[in-house]
Amino acid sequence: MFVVVVGCGRVGAQVARGLVEDGHDVNVIDQNAEALQRLGGDFPGEFIQGVALETTVLEAAGIERADAFVAATNGDNTNLVIAQIARDRYQVQCVIVRVLDPARARFYEERGLVTVCPTRTAIDRMSEALRAFATADGEDA
């Protein structure tokens, strides 16, 4: 499949590299030219420097023929807006959005976006680990 990834930070770059390793075609957008370095020298896809809110940038990255779209910039609202643009304007079938704020993640999940909320994951994992400890500790006592 062909994937457009927006945001070439720690998350976006690793997602892009992983997809390439799996044999998929990937283009990456980031507003910062230096972000390209995160992809490594042998990245086969295209890197487009620009603001993803601009349709010319999205189109240069090939959004019109994308099977999947990943919104992983460091701005929740930017991610939520470009994800809706990908879904509603370009009819991309699979749209995945990173949203740090759990409340906004839930709200947009209810509106049909596939949201990934690292904060929610951290809260759940930490609570789980602490509960597991408390339970084990309680059994010992």
């Binding site: 809110l53 601009e54 349709t55 701005g75 929740d76 609202n77 930017t78 939520l80 807006v81 809706q84 643009i85 509603d88 304007r89 704020d101 409340a103 906004r104 709200f107 509106r111």
Partner: protein, 219 residues
């Protein structure tokens, strides 16, 4: 009326001041600490500190009982999200949003955040109105109502030149509402006679531009 203004820059503060003077209840949400401090000095409890794209911040500001949400931050993506959350999460019936970059207007339209106000576009339309480069100028768009108000110059030897309004067969979905001659505007009547150099103001459903140009601006 209760208005929640998100974004306490020049626009937000001025709108807030005006609404307060009209006797309305207002909250102004501002995320930048230094700007908030300035606002608090003037507006006291009406200014609220916080990121207005966070649902809990809007909740604390009483968005659920707001009659109108005014999203006027300097970031278009923020204004879109604020508009969507206000309408769909809090059920606010009236949302007004600011478009900072006119290129983002299409995103507001696509994502259903309306009506919008864009200073750049307004200035450009004013320039067009004052110094027309084209014979058809869009003055105002009622996007949600699906209507455009535009101004068209009557060109010499066009079908409109010398015709009375009543005799002009206007395309369906268009209506001449006024005629400007020598900088004086008059409400249009069926017996108004048009002459070259007049500017007619037309209200129309979208997509009627070429039909209108044919009547008023083709020789």
């Amino acid at each position: 009326m209760y208005a929640v203004i998100v974004g306490g820059g020049k626009v937000g503060a001025n709108v807030g001041r005006a609404l307060l003077r009209m006797g309305h209840e207002v909250s102004i949400v501002e995320a930048r600490p230094s700007r908030f401090a300035t606002l608090e000095t003037e507006f006291e409890h009406i200014a609220r500190y916080g990121d207005g794209t966070e649902i809990f911040v809007l909740e604390a500001a009483g968005m659920a009982r707001a009659d109108v949400c005014i999203a006027v931050t300097g970031d278009d993506e923020d204004n879109i999200i604020i508009g969507q959350v206000a309408r769909d999460h809090f059920g606010v019936e009236n949302v007004v949003a600011r478009v900072n970059d006119p290129r983002n207007q299409e995103h507001f339209d696509l994502l259903g955040v309306a009506p919008t106000v864009c200073a750049t576009e307004s200035i450009l339309s004013l320039i067009e109105h004052e110094v027309p480069q084209h014979s058809l100028v869009h003055l105002f768009s009622l996007r949600r109502e699906n209507l455009d108000i535009m101004e068209i110059g009557v060109v010499e030897e066009s079908r409109a030149d010398g015709a009375t309004l009543g005799d002009l067969s206007m395309p369906r979905g268009t209506l001449v509402i006024s005629v400007l001659r020598n900088r004086v505007g008059r409400v249009a009547a069926p017996d108004t006679v048009l002459v070259a150099g007049d500017q007619v103001v037309v209200i129309a459903e979208p997509g009627q531009e070429s039909a209108l140009m044919e009547i008023f601006a083709s020789e």
